[in-house]
């Protein structure tokens, strides 16, 4: 476990010292700022529009970090050959994958927490509550980022970063359209939509299960048990992806 932690801390430090992260954070802060301006366009819904826009900015930043940095997480190590001096140490390939993904997950959590603090201040200014529901929305965003990181890691074991990003963005989009797809597939005359829906339901994660923004935007009830099972669903997806990625990585020549 110590080796995993050492690798995680190194990954965390590596990304935090990278300018890309700061560009992304600035972009998200800018979007949160824009959300205030956008809110003023509506007379009755100012708070809701600002909240929606602000939460979407955090959501987008977490997804971008998970997919774009995740696609290079192992690939860059192999390409730059930094992996050579790591894997000759007493470290298994599973520990390597765990360490790298833990480091990036910690970084995504730090960024979400930082942006959430800024958004919390905006909420405070708009008179919106910063409570358990607000916290749960953030947990949902993190869980989604975790799933996308896992999926990205699997893709990164078999192809190049550009394609990995495309595939992972595909999973992100399908993951949010899954409920709509199921809705249309159940209608009469759905045709090919039915088998597609079956494949998507069984082989891709349903990311709408952790999209809990409505808790804040429309003050929906908490339903903690549903939230807990959805979190379990995401964590299972994450670990399943890590297992698949490790299995592929175990047979790979990295020299």
């Amino acid at each position: 476990m110590r080796a995993v932690w050492v690798l995680a801390m190194n990954t965390y430090r590596e990304v935090i010292r990278d300018r890309i992260l700061y560009a992304l954070v600035l972009f998200a802060v800018f979007l949160i700022g824009v959300s205030l301006a956008l809110g003023q366009l509506s007379f009755a819904e100012q708070a809701r529009i600002s909240a929606n826009f602000g939460l979407s900015a955090i959501h987008l930043s977490a997804v971008i970090l998970a997919i774009f940095v995740g696609s290079n997480l192992v690939y860059k190590e192999i390409e730059k050959k930094t992996i050579l001096t790591i894997l000759v140490r007493p470290i298994s390939r599973l520990q390597f994958i765990l360490g790298k993904s833990l480091g990036l997950s910690m970084l995504i959590a730090t960024m979400v927490l930082g942006l959430a603090t800024i958004l919390g201040l905006v909420f405070f200014g708009l008179g919106l509550p910063v409570d358990l529901k607000f916290g749960l929305v953030l947990v949902g965003l993190l869980a989604e980022a975790l799933v996308l990181l896992g999926v990205t890691l699997v893709f990164s074991m078999i192809t190049k970063p550009l394609l990995v990003v495309c595939f992972s963005l595909g999973v992100f989009l399908i993951g949010h359209w899954q409920n709509s797809l199921n809705h249309f597939a159940q209608k009469e005359g759905a045709g090919i939509l039915r088998p597609i829906s079956w494949v998507v339901n069984n082989f891709l994660p349903n990311l709408e299960r952790v999209n809990w923004k409505d808790l804040v935007l429309y003050e929906q009830p908490l339903a903690l048990w549903t939230k807990a099972t959805a979190l379990g669903y995401c964590v299972s997806w994450f670990f399943l992806c890590l297992c698949v990625a490790t299995l592929i990585f175990k047979g790979k020549d990295v020299g």
Partner: protein
């Protein structure tokens, strides 16, 4: 006792669109005894780097056996080896000190004062103490090579494997690195390294393994190989106002050449008999396929 033993190692890679398999290692055998500096020589493409990658578990051999410290490679044996890859690719975002801390902590648990003392000692030894707080992205190639060697030695391994440790270094850097290698070996660590710089190899190595086309064609002491290389005769003469040298290999040829030179009116300045250098023997053995007899051959 052998710290490293390779038996009948084979490795092939798929190349091209059709995935045609190219055999790089064709049944490699050699040993690295404890307490020695062993040079691993071969022309480009002979399979040296592939062998090292298989030995270190970075690539998976098709067949054959590798024994480290008398057993197949495992977590414990990995704790006892150090490795410096061919080109120093390291985490540029780390400072010299952070870099060594990172690799030390990956290998074993340290008490903080013990680790700090070890890092200071190593940084002094590789002459990088002045750059300990600078990020690696600001290091020159020679500095990266030195810090790379330091990471390979940080946990005081029993066997250090170095892939082209001197490539790209200026004479000063090569000399410094050679001194560190000698000092490391004096402390009882076995060193196994590849190099194209045969002058340094000849000076440093007690033993040699020479590869050609995926097989070891010589394994034995450096002295034994140098003796097998035989002697050469150099004639230094002056003709048409220019000093020139002629190299010949036999006594009979010497008489003929001398007679010819004198007939042409050249002035013979000196006739020298010297042993062939490792470089010349290497060209004969590894590139031209001249047979050399070693311990296993």
């Amino acid at each position: 006792m052998s710290l490293l033993e390779v038996k009948n190692l084979k490795k092939s890679y798929a190349r091209g669109l059709l995935g045609r398999r190219v055999e790089v290692l064709k049944g490699l055998n050699f040993k690295v005894p404890a307490g020695t500096i062993t040079g691993f020589l071969g022309a480009n493409g002979a399979g040296k780097t592939t062998s090292m990658r298989c030995i270190l578990g970075l690539d998976f051999p098709d067949s054959g056996d590798i024994f480290m410290f008398g057993a197949p490679p495992n977590v414990e044996s990995k704790r006892r080896i150090g490795f410096l890859p061919e080109r120093p690719y390291f985490y540029e975002h780390l400072t010299g000190t952070e870099f060594l801390q990172f690799y030390a902590n990956l290998t074993r648990v340290w008490k903080k004062p013990e680790l700090n003392a070890r890092i200071v000692e190593l940084l002094r030894r590789v002459d990088l103490h002045f750059a300990k707080d600078r990020m690696l992205r600001t290091y020159s190639k020679g500095m990266l090579q030195k810090i790379g060697l330091a990471q390979a030695l940080i946990h005081e391994p029993e066997l250090v494997i170095l892939d082209e440790p001197m490539s790209g270094l200026d004479p000063d850097g090569r000399l410094a690195l050679a001194e560190i290698i000698l000092e490391t070996a004096k402390k009882g660590t076995a060193v196994f390294f590849t190099s194209h710089l045969l002058y340094d190899t000849e000076r440093l190595c007690q033993r040699l393994v020479v590869m050609r086309d995926g097989l070891s064609i010589y394994e034995g002491t450096t002295d034994a190989l140098l003796e097998q290389g035989g002697m050469k005769i150099e004639i230094l003469f002056k003709a048409n106002g220019l000093a020139q040298t002629k190299v010949i290999s036999s006594q009979e040829q010497l008489q003929i050449e001398l007679g010819e030179l004198l007939r042409q009116g050249a002035t013979v300045i000196e006739v020298r008999r010297t042993r062939l250098s490792l470089e010349e023997i290497f060209v004969n053995v590894a590139l031209r396929g001249v047979k050399a007899s070693g311990e296993l051959k």
